[in-house]
Symmetry: C2
Subunit: 137 residues, 2 copies
């Protein structure tokens, strides 16, 4: 592995307004998504905005999972950032889609922490296969 983290960026449209505008339901969805990703939860914060909208951020041993909802558009922006070989961020994406009843889901994946070729003297060893080490609690 030549990168340190996987970052799955999720655009969910056609979500159920009553679900994504309910902080308790969003939190439940996030907790199920963390489990589906086989990640370890350290902390979770969910905030309800007025007149509408929910933001939730889960801190993971393996990085983070975030959700921001715009109920008035049936839209949720979610991110699942994980590291290590044992997590499955795409499974988290599916779980969020299921909970929110999204009819249109776009997922893209970024590799984070790819050593830049243009950096000739990093003064550090090259990342390889050690992501797990950095996230042991």
């Amino acid at each position: 592995m030549e990168h340190l983290g996987q970052h799955v960026i999720i655009e969910l449209w056609g979500c159920q307004e009553g679900v994504i505008n309910d902080a308790a339901l969003v939190k439940t969805a996030m907790l199920d998504a963390v489990r589906a990703a086989n990640a370890t939860l350290l902390d979770i914060n969910v905030h309800m905005f007025s007149p509408h909208g929910v933001t939730g951020v889960a801190v993971l041993s393996e990085s983070h999972l975030s959700v921001h909802s715009w109920p008035e558009y049936g839209y949720v922006a979610a991110d699942v950032f994980t590291c290590g070989e044992t997590t499955n961020p795409r499974a988290a994406a599916k779980e969020l889609q299921r909970h929110f009843g999204s009819t249109h889901c776009e997922v893209r994946e970024l590799r984070r922490g790819r050593f830049p070729k243009s950096l000739s003297s990093p003064g550090k060893k090259r990342p390889a296969l050690a992501a797990q080490e950095a996230v042991t609690v």
Copy 2:
């Protein structure tokens, strides 16, 4: 504006190990970055890992800011997700780079919440100019 959020993805290399492995210094950097972005802090969590590495997540009225460090590689993955017209996520990126002493910074920006053209019957109005409304606390 035809999107709801700006998501700035920041790859910081050549960071000072002593800074990015110190939870208090990472928290200070994050708080300064939130101010630089002209964002409003709702909550912040910073975790120190063993043997090394720090994760910090700030929940904002305008979405979130996250930092994950791999001190052994001098690397930090940071994300600044904001919405509304009054925030400047790139200013937050510069503040993080300055605090961490990064010698090599890569920034890319994603537009989140762009209404998908392929979605013919969203059942919702089209997003435009209303991001601010969704994040009023």
